[in-house]
């Protein structure tokens, strides 16, 4: 279908203009590798749009559409319904959106898609701000992080996307991290096999927006999990599971200090964040016990 100007090992071109060290790029490749070529992708504006094309050229070998920031989930619904009307039950429909396009701007259409129980896989890669337009804070920006719209540090906590999905009682929702690729790929496979909507919320460290050395992307993603700042969990058929439950959380200090966006935190701010992260983790464990 496409004129191939450059060879690639998988479905995604090797030379994509995501920043050096971008976690989103690694997530994108792994998600498409698991889903395979019988997939249609919907991408809204944001850094992931780097993959959907620049004029006549595209960086993916599968069909896709670049939609508006509000409407990823609605477009996925339309494509899925169209396929079903043609009797096609095999093609996977994938929405691949950033945090701003999911927890803020695209939230109502995502909510509608989940309420209607559309069989669509929705992936939100979370770089914790509006990166593509210059690092504005989103409602996924964590407490204390500096962005261009929260220069002194974000004064409020982030939204809990998987909790929102669980409130719609969809069959499968999970978080994942780019540092744990086997776990991530297993979850993509589960999402593909789910009969109904599935949502994956994937932590995507961003060297440009978080201000750290690009070589540290995986190290930072791992530290987020080990400190409890990013909890690996699944919500499957009404039950919560915590993957790799931690007996002890590592102190958040080293994780925060490795990133320029937390530069203006003082020691007592870090101590407060530590309490907040511990409490949040403990509450999560309790929630999982209530199943």
């Amino acid at each position: 279908m496409y004129k191939i100007n450059a060879e690639s090992k998988g479905l995604v071109s090797h030379g994509v203009s995501a920043c050096a060290g971008c976690a989103l790029e690694l997530i994108f490749r792994n998600v498409l590798d698991v889903l395979g070529e019988d997939t249609i992708i919907v991408i809204p504006p944001g850094c992931s749009a780097l993959f959907s094309g620049y004029g006549k050229e595209t960086a993916v070998k599968i069909p896709g559409a670049q939609m508006t920031l509000e409407a990823t989930a609605a477009c996925c619904t339309g494509i899925k319904r169209g396929l079903l009307a043609q009797g096609n039950t095999h093609t996977t429909v994938l929405g691949f959106a950033g945090d701003g396009g999911t927890v803020d701007i695209g939230l109502q259409s995502l909510s509608g898609m989940m309420e209607r129980m559309e069989k669509v896989i929705y992936v939100c890669y979370d770089n914790e701000a509006y990166m593509n337009t210059g690092i504005q804070g989103s409602s996924s920006t964590p407490l204390g992080a500096s962005t261009t719209t929260t220069p002194a540090g974000k004064p409020t906590k982030r939204k809990d996307l998987v909790g929102i999905a669980a409130a719609h009682d969809i069959p499968y929702a999970a978080t994942a991290s780019v540092a744990y690729l086997t776990d991530l790929r297993k979850k993509v496979k589960k999402a593909k096999e789910t009969d109904g909507p599935s949502l994956l919320h994937i932590h995507a460290p961003c060297p440009t927006g978080w201000r750290y050395d690009p070589a540290k992307t995986i190290e930072i993603a791992r530290a987020a999990v080990e400190t409890g700042c990013w909890i690996l969990c699944e919500f499957e058929n009404g039950k919560w599971v915590i993957n790799k439950p931690l007996k002890e959380l590592k102190p958040v200090g080293a994780y925060l200090k490795a990133q320029g966006r937390f530069n203006n935190l003082k020691e007592h701010d870090i101590a407060q964040l530590q309490i907040q992260v511990r409490d949040h983790y403990a509450r999560f464990i309790e929630k999982a016990k209530l199943n």
Partner: protein, 108 residues
């Protein structure tokens, strides 16, 4: 004030394609961005594949039976340093790209 569309949609003649439509699968020469280049010490490599798994550009190949067991495609490598940072035995070194290029030219 926004102007009304010249013609209502219904009166438009057949309009099959909503553009722009990308029809060419292509790649940019992202290797030209590189400031530092990853160089592998083949003797120390344990061929675990960690570097290949985490390379965001998916351009590392492992050849277990070859002397040059880790091959990096420098046409695309952005020099992010993730491979060097994640290698469990630390056998990837990031070297200055300009001096590496000078060496390439001398050896060519």
């Amino acid at each position: 004030m926004q102007r009304r569309p010249e013609k209502p949609m219904k009166t438009l003649k057949s309009c099959k394609v909503l553009g722009p439509v990308a029809t060419i699968f292509d790649s940019a020469n992202t290797g030209s961005w590189r400031i530092e280049r990853p160089v592998v010490k083949f003797e120390d490599c344990i061929k675990c594949g960690t570097c290949a798994r985490y390379c965001p550009a998916n351009i590392i190949d492992i050849f277990k039976d070859e002397r040059e067991c880790v091959v990096i495609d420098y046409y695309y490598c952005k020099g992010c340093g993730i491979c060097a940072n994640e290698c469990p035995v630390g056998c990837i070194e990031m070297v200055d790209e300009r001096s590496a290029r000078k060496n390439d030219l001398q050896n060519a």
